[in-house]
């Protein structure tokens, strides 16, 4: 362990890459087998840690040597969790229980017989052997989630094996600050945190401002009800975010980064801590990174637990130790951000795209997506849809493709009524707009928003007035109260909606008043 030179990093990469060939190649020439178990929040809550423990115990008891059990990030199909994948053959077992481990080892590993009972059934009833045979995966394109479900997020060597920290070295040794920003600008990458601001432009503003200190902040506060894209990236591939922050730091001239992460994401926080320690140990964070003379370090700041703290200026207040209330803009953070210094704030998913853009080139990235929205978008698909989970699709994919082809349609033979995108800041999209290609502009045009990527499907048993009430109820309790229209106006709106849904009688309101005054 300890600081590594670039030669040593390359050695690790080559050695590990060969060892891990079986993760991505079903024809890999190996005698090893890897049992991959999802260790994201979803599968963890349905006992995946116990499954990992059981596998390891049984392997030891049976003295089986060439099989390794790996904990990975989210595979995406959370509805079928806990998920176990055996490579290189890429067999996909769904809804595995801790009791099934014995049979999997005995039958699959020892006797080489696939266990039909645990194979996943597609929506049309066909039994699927391999992950990518599922309709769920066919229309997806994984860029931000590339490593999720492939590598062990707590092992930096595995990240390095799949081109990890290569983009950072390339940037530090062959590109000027402006070249990096140009590349990001040309790629057309826009902020995935909601507003869709061009990332290259944001970085160039911060670079232009001279200052003795600048900051890079990763916004991992993800407070939208129903959203878990950022959590999954942090849990499955934390190093990609760290590496991108260092690249951003170099391009604007910052030496310190902060990750503002929700305290409600204990697994993500833990993975980030491990990843930062490992990166520091290898000299990929800290002073004189890879012998290039560039200093950059990252610290974690835990979120204060309010939705509004995800708003960039409230987030700054919160890191500075004050109550998380938004500031009036301008000045924008790129001019006067954290502690009054130029600061860029980027969303987790935005950052997860950066290393891929550097390595594959801006043209490659710009070739994916629509005219004004490039690349892919990760959605947390939920609600009344068969395949609940995490999906990543090229911009311009239609809602119909996401709900019916990837999501497998509406359960219980019911009809589609609406899809809600953008959480409490977005809107409901009716069936007549199912064929709209999704990008930032088209969603705004039909009265919704891209938002951070929550996508909730609703069937005909959902009342639209009640849905509006639900989201407004959320904003009312999350409003920080700094300005009157938001504090009082939303409350008045909510009261009207409640009146509609509940026929709230005078008597009940009196009861409420009595309760408050007691």
């Amino acid at each position: 362990m300890g600081k590594k030179s670039i030669q040593e990093i390359e050695e690790i990469r080559n050695r590990k890459r060969q060892e891990l060939e079986l993760r991505v190649n079903t024809k890999a020439d190996t005698r090893e087998k890897h049992i991959l178990v999802c260790h994201g929040t979803g599968c963890t809550s349905s006992k995946s840690p116990k499954i990992i423990e059981n596998f390891r115990k049984i392997l030891e008891e049976k003295k089986i040597k060439n099989v390794r059990v790996i904990q990975t990030g989210c595979f995406g199909l959370c509805a079928k969790g806990p998920i176990v994948i055996i490579r290189p053959e890429d067999t996909f077992y769904a809804q595995v229980k801790p009791e099934d481990c014995e049979e999997i080892i005995q039958s699959h590993i020892v006797e080489g017989k696939t266990i039909e009972r645990l194979l996943c059934k597609d929506i049309d009833g066909t039994i699927v052997n391999r992950l990518d045979e599922l309709n769920f995966y066919k229309k997806q394109k994984r860029i931000a989630l590339k490593n999720c479900g492939v590598i062990d997020p707590e092992n930096i060597d595995e990240y390095i094996a799949f081109d990890g920290y290569k983009a950072l070295y390339q940037v530090l040794t062959t590109m000027s600050q402006d070249e990096v920003i140009d590349e990001i600008s040309k790629s057309g990458l826009r902020g995935r945190g909601g507003a869709g601001f061009p990332t290259g432009k944001k970085w160039s503003f911060a670079k232009q401002n001279e200052a003795d200190q600048k900051y890079v902040i990763c916004n991992a506060d993800e407070g939208d009800p129903g959203a878990f894209m950022d959590r999954s990236i942090l849990e499955g591939d934390p190093h990609s975010v760290l590496e991108a922050m260092a690249i951003a730091g170099y391009s604007i001239g910052a030496t310190q980064g902060y990750i503002y992460v929700r305290a409600e994401y204990p697994i993500a926080v833990q993975r980030l801590k491990v990843a930062i320690d490992q990166a520091r140990d290898y000299g990929l964070l800290g002073k004189d990174i890879l012998g290039t003379g560039f200093d950059f370090d990252i610290d974690i700041r835990l979120g204060a637990g309010a939705f509004v703290c995800g708003e960039e200026t409230a987030l700054l207040e919160s890191i500075e130790g004050r109550r998380g209330q938004p500031r009036v803009k301008p000045p924008y953070p790129a001019n006067k951000g954290l502690f009054g210094k130029p600061t860029i704030i980027n969303n987790v998913e935005t950052l997860a795209n950066v290393t891929r853009i550097i390595l594959n080139g801006a043209e490659w990235y710009a070739s994916i997506g629509t005219e004004k929205s490039k690349g892919t978008k990760v959605f947390a698909l939920g609600g009344n849809v068969n395949n609940v989970g995490l999906v990543e699709v090229p911009m311009g994919t239609t809602l119909r493709e996401i709900v019916f082809d990837i999501g497998g349609g509406i359960p219980n033979g019911r009809k589609f009524k609406a899809a809600q995108t953008g959480g409490p800041s977005g809107g409901c999209i009716p069936a007549e707009h199912l064929d709209t290609p999704i990008d930032y502009e088209s969603l705004t045009e039909i009265g919704s928003m891209m938002g951070s990527g929550g996508l909730i499907v609703m069937d005909e048993t959902k009342c639209m007035v009640d849905i509006a009430r639900f989201y407004l109820d959320f904003t009312v309790s999350e409003s920080c109260g700094k300005c009157t229209p938001c504090r009082i106006g939303t409350k008045r709106m909510l009261e009207i909606l409640e009146r509609m849904c509940e026929r709230k009688s005078r008597a009940r309101r009196f009861k409420q008043i009595r309760k408050i005054s007691q």
Partner: protein
């Protein structure tokens, strides 16, 4: 028309929404009305039904639905009858019970108490 929401409520809602959008400081307030505005745009008839006809077509808002006992699920245990605060439920032991819609105040107590989930919401 005996609903508690007033017909002017829809206009009031829209006016408030547009004002908040324009005047709030941060994105939270500026976007908060979106769920309301978008549903008002695409599902306006549902709002009108709620306000003017006391009807929830999705059968979701309890106060705007009839609570009915599904005779196939009801075992006639009588728990609902004993818990109903206005005595709207009648029925013989071990026979399907019935809710008198004229008396029922739609408090939902019976549905919460029924051990067999026999009490369902039905669109009016």
């Amino acid at each position: 028309m005996n609903g508690k929401a007033e017909p002017d409520d829809l206009n009031k809602l829209e006016r408030l929404a547009n004002n908040i959008k324009k005047s709030a400081i941060c994105g939270l307030g500026q976007t908060a009305p979106n769920p309301v505005l978008s549903t008002l745009k695409y599902f306006r008839e549902e709002y009108v039904e709620h306000v003017s006809y006391n009807k929830c077509r999705a059968g979701y808002c309890r106060a705007l639905c009839n609570l009915v006992i599904n005779p196939e699920k009801c075992r006639g245990c009588g728990i609902c009858k004993r818990n109903c605060p206005v005595g709207a439920i009648s029925g013989e032991v071990k026979m399907p019970h019935e809710i008198n819609q004229k008396i029922c105040i739609k408090c939902g107590t019976c549905a919460d108490k029924c051990p067999f989930h026999a009490i369902e919401k039905q669109t009016i």
